[in-house]
Every structure is written in structure tokens, then in C-alpha cells.
Symmetry: C2
């Protein structure tokens, strides 16, 4: 370990150049603590001649993937180029060439994790992915390594900074459009924020976390999700009145019939560790049989933050290679995904109803017929109509939505029903 | 790696028996994920004949340390017996016998870390200690492994659950004595709570964390600490009025002239991640150049929680043995400890003063003479005397305490001055 370790990069953008810079900035510590210097030997880019703000050492940049794959001095490659293709193919070729890979690519892992992990194991190399979920918040390492003595019962998180920034602004009274515009202005939201605000980004992350937590493969297709686009300022205000904050919660739970992973805007009770997570920060709560619960919080995005996680993974690959520990595919179980309709949830239901005698009784009757138990009711009159907000105790989602459909056929509701999940106090 | 791994235990009390039980409960996962079964082969106890609630396999218990030390099948020993002697001597013998050690013993590490780490390195074995700080909250692993690409600027934490339980009760209006009694009743405080309430326990933990964070040896003797015994309910109430919570904060910071590690009851602004940590929970905030900040929170004590951390460390030892990574002594720097008097702090000062014209002006003059700048003043009259509360901007501690001494000689203050630190908003 005295000759130094060479690594390859796929991509030399914000994250890739930060990996290179941080490895140089921290060369002394890395060599002392890890036992060996580590340097970037090759970095794959589209165009080596393009002007760059960060300048790698001469000869590092290459536009030819084979130069990285076939360099015999490189044992670990960090994939920070993103995208599903050709990235997936590159990873398969790297594994076949005997190289371990560290990836920051959540969409790739959530879609093709099964194939990629199997290929890595077949070739006796590692695939690590801390940076793919919440950047530098070390949730993957903690779940896999620190919590190995735990039967994990649940993972609950705020794993998308864009939506948490918007929800924080909405909690302060802004409406959705203004909050999104502000997030874009500050760089917390992309010009096209779809993947963030519709919950797809969070869904990919919770698919990855659910897979690690339960040792079974949960893919993006297994994760129902909805986003925050239809949320109104009035829901934030009412949530607050009821003692809750609205957060986009990604959750994975072990239930009697299997596991569930999903993403929904959710009322989180004040005092819950996730209620206090503000702005673009992320937080993940891990529940285990031995540790009760651990919450990890911090910035869930950023170039240096992601690069920090990539380097931590590179070090872990180097530090565990050849020992056979923590290098196996941990997804050895086949656990059923519980059908959405059977997953129990508590709900918040806001309806615009006729302000007439008997309306509440009719609605309560429909809920009771579906065995959905009411926890609280708020009703406010406004010019012949009333705003009715019902919160329920946990019930199978299918029963609740059957009740909502039934309520909508009563002829007393105007507009769309507004539905949010509620975390238990 | 197919024949199984044998480990030894020093101690088979609450934590030791939980390690044994959890290894058996989680045998499938550990073998699948880690690549090998792991079992307890020997456990050192004082009396093998004593009746125990947990029953180890036949032949595991021994009262003879040499049986553990000389068992050639054991490569890792978990030290969960506590105490400084003979534990220290046992560890040195184990290292010399080529065995790695995982320890949950904060007092031992904070006092004799330098000797122990040097001995482990000399013999080419590892000493890991996750369980010594905040039980299952993986702060050591995250600092050492996940944050290796970071220049760490500070560690700030609530690392003692007993005091946080008491402070939470005091924030709700209880006085110190009643809160302590309640903590003892519920098992959150020992019959003799001295080490917890006087800050010594927290000081040992922050010494360990400061050492890892700054790659320099910080021992218990380097850590000034004070506890919560003299805290009064009125301070909790005034802190709340000012928008703060009082917490026992253990902090380690890198300053211009070196590093500082200390433990003080401190006003933490509401909205700060540590302000919301309630009851017996612990939380640690890690600040680094690449990751900005990460906060880890959870139960900081408990048998299963500690055992979970011990097992995580055992796995990490097994999973990194022979690679040379993360096995070196990370304390390769000699960084000065900044003298207490030069460490800048913001302060809260509560004084019982004469309710007479000019008193505040005199006090303000003394503070100004020491170049301590006032941030806020609250004065409340009560029967010829007044309660005066001053908060200051950060100033070198020596200057502030010189000012307090000066104020006490003015002849306008009754009783002792009440001093707390204040975290910046």
C-alpha cells in the first residue's frame, strides 16, 4: 500500500472535479489515515478540449471510455456522469474488467440495481452508492455497516431538498408558485423541477434505502409516489393549526404482509425529528430493533457534499477489498411488496362542502361504512359553503379511497378532495 | 471466510450478553451480508457460577483472562467490562497477542488513548471504539470514514442523556432536584449521578471526538467542563423568553491558535438542530469543509444500543483487516490546545443587583473596559433588588471572567453570578 492508489472518474463536472480537488486538498490526511495516497489517474469526459474552471493534471482527461476501463493501475472508478445509458453499460464493462465502482446515480441504481449488483458480485468487485442518496448524509453506510445487528423496521425521510425548501416557504405563508419561483432563483430547484416536485426523485432514493434496509430488491416501479404540486397554502395553514408541518415523506416500512416503500406529502407532528428539518436540508430516520431510532440530517445535495460521499465510498472499497466483508450483495431475500390498498395510513381529507344540515353526518357515515375511524373534524363556514377537514386514524388505503369516492358521489362536495397522509404523533 | 469467525468478550453483563444475543438473532443477515458467521467463543466474567438471566453457550464463560488472550481462534475481542484497571492492562496484552479490540469504554480511551492506540498500531491490530461515544449513534464511524475528505472545523453535541433528560424537565418548569429525582426513578440517572451531572462523562466523550476530528490527541485533562448542578429553574425560564433552550453542550472547535474541547451548560437558539433534542436522547453535529454540517441523533445509551455499536465495530475490524486502510493511528498531528482564557464565547450573565439608579451603567462600564460587548439586557425589579440578565457577543473567556470579577467588587451584586455560554443564532 505504499505505491499509491489510482482511481478513475466517469465524468468531470461539478462532482467529478470536486472529487479530484478534495483528494488533493486532503492528501496528507488520506495518506495518514488510510495508509496510502489516492489520486485520480483518468477521467472520462465528452470533450477533453473544452475550457474548464477546474484543471486536472495533464493526461487525466480522456474522451475514450476504454482508456479508463483498460488502465491496469486503476482498481476503483467513481461514476459521477449520471444518466441511465450509456452509464449502465459502462458499469457492466468495468465490473468485467475487475474494477469496483462507486456511483452517485440514484436513477440508475433504482432502475437497474439488481442487474448491476449481480454483475459486481459475479466479478468479485464492489458497487457502492452512498452519494446516490442524500449526498453526504451517510445513511447507506450507517444502514449497512453500523446497523448490521439490527432488524430494521422502518426508514422515514425527507430526501428531497427542493421540495423541503418549497414546503418550508409554504409553511411561512407563501403559495406554491411563489415558493417554487424563489427556489429556482436560489438554485434549489432546476429550470424543469418535475422530477423533484412530483416525488420521482424521492421515490428512487427510498427504493434504494428500502432495498438495503430489508435485504430485498425494491425497484422504482414498486414505489407509489405523489408530489407537492397540488398542495395549497391553506393546507399548510390548517396543518399548523392542528399541530403539524407538511413534509414530503419518503417511507419504507416492514408490515405483516411484506414491505412498502412510498412517497407522499404528509402531516408530520410538531416535535417529530423530521418536522424541524427546514429549507433545503434532508433528514432520514432509521428504526432498528437494537438502536430504537437514529436520525441523520444535513444538506442532501451539492457538489462538494456529493464528492465527500464519493470519496468516503472509494476509501471504503479500498479498505475492505479482499476481506469478503460488506462486499456481498445484501439483497438475498424475496420479500413481497404490500399492495398499496392494504398499506395502513392515517389521512387528512379537506373538502369543500355544502354548508347544510346533515352533510357531516352523511360523510361520517360513508367513512364508517368503510371502517375508517375519524380522529378530528374542523368545519369552517364561508358563504353558503364550508371547508371541512377530517383527519382519520390509520386504515388500509384502499378503504379510505373507497370512502372518498363514496363521499364524492353524495352530491355535497364541490371540486376535488384534498388528501394528505398523517404521521402518528 | 467460510469457517466462521470467533470473537472474545471481556465482560458478560448487560452489553456483553446483548452482543452475544444479537449475534445469534442476526446470524443469517451477518453471514449473508458480511460473508461469514460470527460467534462469541469466550467471555471473561468474574464468577462463572453466578446465576445469569442470559445464558451463553456451554464453555463460553471463563474467569481466566488468559483463556481469552491465548485462544488462537479469536481474532477480535470486545471490551465491555468497563473500568480503567485492569482493563488497560488486558488491552495491552491482547494487542501483544495479535488481537484487535473493540471497546465501549470512554473513560479508558479518554485517559489512556495515546498509549493504547500506539500499542495497537505497533502490533498491527485495530482498536475501535464506536460504542464509547453515544452508544449506537455512529459518530465515530462517520467522522473517521464518511468525512475523510473533510477538514473538520467543529463538533458540537448533546452527549449525555441524563443531563438532557433533566434539562428537558427543567425547561418544562421543574426544578433541578425534582428533575434529577424523576430521572433516577426512571433509570435515566444513576444512584450516584455525579459523573453525569458535573459534565465529566460528556468531557470524556468530547475528548475522544476532538481527537478524531482534528487528528491530534486530546485527553480528558485538556477538557474544561462544568455541569448542570447549579442551574436554576429561573435560568430555563429566562432562556426561553430570550428564544433559547439550555443544553449541556460538549464542543470541539478548531480556532486560529489550535483546538479547544469543552463542556458547558449553554443557551442554544430555538431552531438550532440541538435545541429540539429532548429527553434522554443525544445528538452530535459535525461540521466539515465539504459537507457543511451533518447532525446525528438518537438514544445515547442502553444495552442493546451499545451492543449494536460494538457489533458494527467488530464487523468493521473483520472487514478491513489486512487492507491497511482505516487501521492506522489517525492522531498524527500535534495541535496546541488553546488556553481557556483565549477561547471566544458569548455569555449569559444573571445577577441579583441593587435596584438603584446607575447600577446598570456601572456594570456596563466594567464589561466595556474588558472589551466585552453587550448583546441584550433584561432587568426585572423585585422588592428593592433587581434581577439583571446580560447576554454578550463573543469575547475571550478570560476577559469576560475578569469583567465578572470586576462587577462582583462593585458592591452592587448579591450572591453568586450565574454564568452560561450562548451558541450563536
Amino acid at each position: 500500500m505504499t505505491t499509491g492508489v489510482a482511481i478513475g472518474l466517469l465524468g468531470y463536472g461539478t462532482v467529478g472535479s470536486a472529487v479530484d480537488r478534495l483528494l488533493r486538498d486532503r492528501a496528507t490526511e488520506i495518506e495518514r489515515v488510510a495508509g496510502s495516497p489516492v489520486e485520480v489517474r483518468r477521467a472520462l469526459v465528452r470533450d477533453v478540449t473544452r475550457a474548464r474552471s477546474a484543471s486536472p493534471a495533464a493526461g487525466v482527461l480522456t474522451a475514450d471510455f476504454a482508456t479508463v476501463r483498460d488502465d491496469p493501475t486503476i482498481s476503483v472508478v467513481a461514476e459521477v456522469m449520471g444518466g441511465v445509458e450509456p452509464t449502465r453499460g459502462y458499469l457492466l464493462e468495468l465490473f468485467a474488467a475487475g474494477k469496483s465502482v462507486v456511483s452517485a446515480n440514484k436513477q440508475l441504481l433504482a432502475r437497474h440495481g439488481e442487474e448491476l449488483f449481480a454483475a459486481a458480485e459475479r466479478h468479485g468487485v464492489q458497487l457502492r452508492f452512498e452519494a446516490s442518496v442524500c449526498a453526504a448524509i451517510p445513511v447507506v453506510k450507517v444502514l449497512r455497516e453500523s446497523m448490521i445487528a439490527n432488524d430494521v423496521s422502518g426508514v422515514l425521510g425527507i430526501v428531497n431538498g427542493t421540495t423541503n425548501f418549497i414546503l418550508t416557504a409554504m409553511a411561512a405563508g407563501q403559495d406554491y408558485g411563489a415558493a417554487l419561483a424563489r427556489a429556482q432563483e436560489l438554485g434549489y430547484a432546476e429550470a424543469d423541477p418535475t422530477e423533484d416536485v412530483n416525488g420521482a426523485d424521492a421515490a428512487a432514493k427510498i427504493a434504494i434505502l428500502a432495498s438495503i434496509a430489508f435485504h430485498t430488491r425494491v425497484t422504482l416501479d414498486d414505489v407509489p409516489f405523489d408530489g407537492i404540486e397540488r398542495l395549497e397554502a391553506i393546507d399548510s395553514a390548517i396543518a399548523r393549526e392542528l399541530g403539524y408541518r407538511i413534509k414530503l415523506i419518503a417511507s419504507a416500512e416492514r408490515l405483516a404482509g411484506g414491505v412498502t416503500a412510498r412517497v407522499h406529502p404528509t402531516l408530520v407532528p410538531e416535535g417529530h425529528p423530521l418536522a424541524a428539518v427546514e429549507g433545503s436540508f434532508n433528514a432520514v430516520m432509521l428504526r432498528g430493533s437494537a438502536i430504537r431510532e437514529i436520525t441523520l440530517a444535513g444538506p442532501g445535495a451539492g457538489g462538494d457534499e456529493t464528492a465527500s460521499a464519493v470519496i468516503g465510498d472509494v476509501m471504503t472499497v479500498l479498505g475492505t477489498s479482499g476481506t469478503g466483508f460488506f462486499t456481498h450483495d445484501g439483497y438475498f431475500r424475496q420479500v413481497a411488496i404490500v399492495p398499496e390498498a392494504e398499506v395502513p395510513s392515517a389521512f387528512y381529507l379537506r373538502l369543500d362542502v355544502l354548508d347544510a344540515p346533515g352533510v357531516l353526518a352523511q360523510i361520517a357515515r360513508v367513512l364508517a361504512d368503510e371502517q375508517v375511524s375519524i380522529e378530528s373534524v374542523i368545519q369552517r363556514a364561508a358563504a353558503g359553503r364550508a371547508q371541512l377537514v377530517v383527519t382519520t386514524h390509520p386504515a388500509p388505503e384502499g378503504r379510505f379511497f373507497a370512502a372518498v369516492n363514496g363521499i364524492c358521489t353524495l352530491g355535497v362536495v364541490a371540486g376535488e378532495p384534498h388528501v394528505l397522509r398523517v404521521l402518528p404523533r
